[in-house]
């Protein structure tokens, strides 16, 4: 017997009620409260993005409805690189612990939750997204109100092996089924054998997904979702591409936040509609020459996941110097390989799209990609976040820094930090390094 929740009519009705009435009412209340707390505009930034309001509504609604999902919809906890399209075809309500980890980090709850996991034996050297999530498991603490327990855990090791170890632990604690989409690392090029292996795994998962969700697999529905995910990710790619304009209409720090729907709601109409809205706004800004940073004079690239507890500080610091981050390998990850998605061949194309993501690809690929992005986005300098949590993203950065300097003469700085655990951030060290970087940029 495992821990899947039986679907009940009462839960379904409650969920539907909240979806139709409860969530909109809550959003309205929330907004009313927010209006009173408007921030004083910072002259270093252009006008704020109007779409941000809609983004907030979407994500708040997603987390709000999550509280009522268990027992009404099958619930899956999913890693950011997993092929969620397959789960969408079965109607799963999905929770992204990494996105939740980022939320905890941004709200400065990361360290507290990490410590809760450490009290249960999880070493402080382990990925802090995992520790936050395990800390949440042990304490129930979250800035999102409440997260529904999963009926299924779904991970792909295309971003790291960490998720395999982490989800395996969750599966043990909750006694729920765990599905792994195993993506062989591309030491060189992806092979036909890799693609067959990955697509066969997706097919093998169908009986388990049918059992947990209580729904039959529909190829037609699956293809629709794949199509939607393709279009959404393509829109996300277009959103990012607007930053190749001078001045860039948004910053990478905006993009870190605005990528939430493509990560967490990919394959749902709401995320596609959101990026249409955002893209239209950005295009309008481009046509009017409105920049995200008032006096954009240097254009930068970010490597690795954000330092979530420093996003605002960094945004302000760089903007005050007329520096704008216009590209990041991280935000690009949800646009880069998605052109491979093809509803006519959903399994094979998903294998390619998900098997080729940046962290599952060799470092030569990463270097070439960065070189291309530096050229496309006219980047003057690079900030490399060496994230203690994330070995697959971080190992190789020192050489990358050297090679980019040799090849393109682009100065860069390495900031030793962590994505959410602020105990690994030294303000003093970062300041010293950033000062030297600013000097190198000016010279």
């Amino acid at each position: 017997m495992n821990g899947e929740a039986p679907m009940s009519l009462a839960n379904k009705l409650q969920f539907q009620f909240m979806k139709d009435l409860g969530a909109p009412a809550l959003m309205a209340l929330n907004q009313a409260g927010k209006k009173k707390r408007a921030h004083k505009p910072n002259p270093d930034f252009g006008p704020p993005l109007k779409s941000a309001k809609r983004l907030k509504e979407i994500m708040s609604r997603h987390y709000f409805l999550a509280r009522y999902a268990r027992g009404a919809r099958p619930v899956a906890w999913v890693t950011s690189g997993a092929p969620v399209e397959l789960l969408r075809a079965f109607g799963f309500y999905t929770i992204y612990p990494e996105n939740h980890g980022a939320l905890c980090g941004a709200q400065k709850m990361g360290t507290k939750l990490c410590q809760a996991a450490e009290e249960h034996g999880y070493h402080p050297d382990l990925c802090s997204y995992a520790r936050i999530d395990l800390g949440h498991h042990f304490t129930g603490l979250t800035p999102a109100g409440r997260l529904p327990k999963p009926d299924l855990l779904f991970a792909s090791n295309n971003i790291c092996q960490t998720v395999l170890y982490w989800y395996k632990a969750l599966a043990h604690y909750w006694n729920v089924p765990f599905l792994l989409f195993d993506t062989p690392y591309n030491f060189r090029d992806i092979t036909d054998s890799d693609i067959s292996f990955m697509s066969a795994q997706l097919r093998e998962m169908i009986p388990a997904l049918e059992r947990v969700s209580g729904q039959k697999f529909s190829m037609e529905r699956f293809q629709e979702v794949v199509n939607l995910a393709h279009d959404t990710s393509a829109l996300w790619g277009q959103v990012l591409a607007t930053m190749s304009h001078r001045p860039a209409p948004m910053t990478i720090f905006d993009a870190f936040v605005h990528l939430a729907p493509v990560v967490s709601l990919r394959g749902l109409p709401v995320s596609q509609a959101y990026y249409q809205l955002l893209l239209a706004e950005l295009q309008e800004r481009v046509s009017k020459g409105i920049g995200a940073v008032t006096n954009e004079n240097k254009r930068l690239m970010w490597d690795n996941i954000a330092i979530w507890y420093k996003v605002r500080d960094y945004a302000e610091l760089f903007a005050s110097k007329g520096m704008n981050f216009v590209a990041a390998t991280y935000t690009n990850a949800w646009a880069e390989t998605i052109h491979n998605l093809d509803p006519a061949q959903p399994f094979e194309s998903m294998a390619k799209a998900y098997g080729l993501v940046i962290l599952n690809n060799n470092l030569n690929h990463r270097l070439n990609l960065m070189e291309q992005m530096i050229k496309d986005y006219q980047v003057d300098g690079l900030v490399i976040h060496s994230a203690r949590s994330c070995k697959p993203y971080s190992v190789g950065q020192y050489d990358m820094k050297r090679l980019l300097m040799e090849r393109l003469n682009v100065p860069s700085v390495v900031i030793e930090a962590d994505i959410t655990d602020s105990r690994h951030y030294s303000e003093e060290q970062a300041q010293v390094r950033l000062e030297a970087f600013f000097e190198a940029l000016e010279s």
Binding site: G121, A200, Q201, R388
Partner: protein
């Protein structure tokens, strides 16, 4: 003959090429069949100098020491390198070496599917075996199927001998020190099977006797390094009666396959190997294995001897410890760096632990 001399003699006297192999799991039999001598790189005794320019301080010392060996030019005996996909750190190390540091030797990669394994994983594993063989052929010449078959049989003999070695130890019928046991067991990291088989046979014969009567423990983790843990246990009259080490029992205790086809035999053997954190084996399997080993060997406590920053192991330990304790097996966890010895505080903790399990 020490390891370096042995590997040089493999080249000079036997005309074999040498392949440096990073941790952990790979199909040795294919290398043997290609007349390649595998030389595993786990904990080379090199002083840290150059690797810090390429790796962050939060990367494990297995990866750091391995890279250090290459950067200091001390792996000159190797004609090629093989990186099995063990963890994120080894994965990226492989790419740093292949793509960034300009090493002029061929690098190969071997991916093994992660658990939970479905039917596709078995098909894929076999394809990976064949792809590895094809990849090594330009260096080693064509692989002959009959030679592979012979080497698979030889691999089964090696596994049988390791099985006996572990079995004798578990039964208390080996009169050798902990340090001596692992010196012998780890010879398989570089001896060619033609030499390894007689070596293990000789060792088994020579070490027959009665084990000391002191406390018996199971050692878990990646590898028995720093080796001071072994001498400390020896000094305290304790026996490592069984292990769950990634470098040792998890790779050495391989149940033989009866398949006639060598590719099939290698595939079946891989999936029958003891569970391992690096493969994502479920906790139930890991617990069954550890408990089974303790039961067979009379070990009454478990020491987790962990390489600092080793994600696969560090993630498994909290649940393993909790479950083992529930079943009455006390556990001790030690975080270590390769070749750095044991601190006085750690030695005291080991001593106290042994007293506790012996009382």
């Amino acid at each position: 003959m020490d390891r370096q001399e042995y590997l040089r003699s493999q080249k000079e006297d036997k005309g074999r090429k040498v392949c440096g192999v990073f941790p952990a799991q790979y199909p040795k039999e294919i290398l043997w069949a290609l007349n390649l001598a595998p030389a595993e790189i786990w904990d080379p005794p090199v002083s840290p100098e150059l690797a810090a320019g390429h790796l962050q301080p939060y990367i494990c010392s297995v990866v750091r020491q391995g890279l250090e060996l290459l950067l200091q030019g001390k792996a000159g005996v190797c004609d090629a390198f093989l990186f099995p996909h063990t963890c994120d750190s080894i994965q990226n190390l492989a790419s740093v070496v292949n793509d960034y540091i300009g090493l002029d030797k061929p690098c190969h990669f071997f991916y093994h599917p992660k658990a939970p394994h479905g039917a596709a994983a078995k098909v894929y594993y076999q394809e990976q075996l064949k792809a590895l063989a094809r990849g090594l052929e330009p260096l080693a010449g064509p692989l002959r199927e009959d030679e592979l078959k012979r080497r698979v049989a030889q691999g089964q003999r090696v596994a049988e001998l390791y099985g006996q070695l572990y079995g004798q130890r578990a039964a208390g019928r080996l009169a050798c020190s902990n340090a001596g046991f692992y010196q012998a067991a780890r010879r398989g990291e570089y001896l060619f099977p033609d030499d390894l088989v007689p070596y293990l046979e000789g060792f088994l014969q020579g070490a027959q006797g009665t084990a000391p009567a002191g406390p018996r423990v199971l050692l878990s983790g990646v590898l028995p390094n720093p080796p001071e843990i072994l001498t400390l246990l020896d000094d305290l009259g304790a026996t490592v009666a069984a292990d769950d080490l990634l470098a040792c029992s998890r790779r050495l205790l391989i149940p033989p396959s009866a398949a006639n086809d060598p590719w099939q035999a290698l595939t079946e053997q891989y999936f029958a190997m003891p569970p391992c954190s690096s493969k994502g084996s479920p906790f139930s399997e890991r617990l069954d294995f550890i408990l089974g080993q303790c039961h067979k060997s009379g070990a009454t406590g478990v020491i987790f001897y962990l390489v600092k920053f080793c994600e696969p192991e560090l993630f498994d330990v909290p649940i393993l410890t909790e479950e083992l304790k529930k079943r009455g097996l006390p556990c001790l966890t030690l975080d270590v760096e390769l070749n750095q010895g044991l601190s006085g505080q750690m030695s005291t903790r080991v001593e106290a632990f042994l007293e506790m399990i012996n009382s």
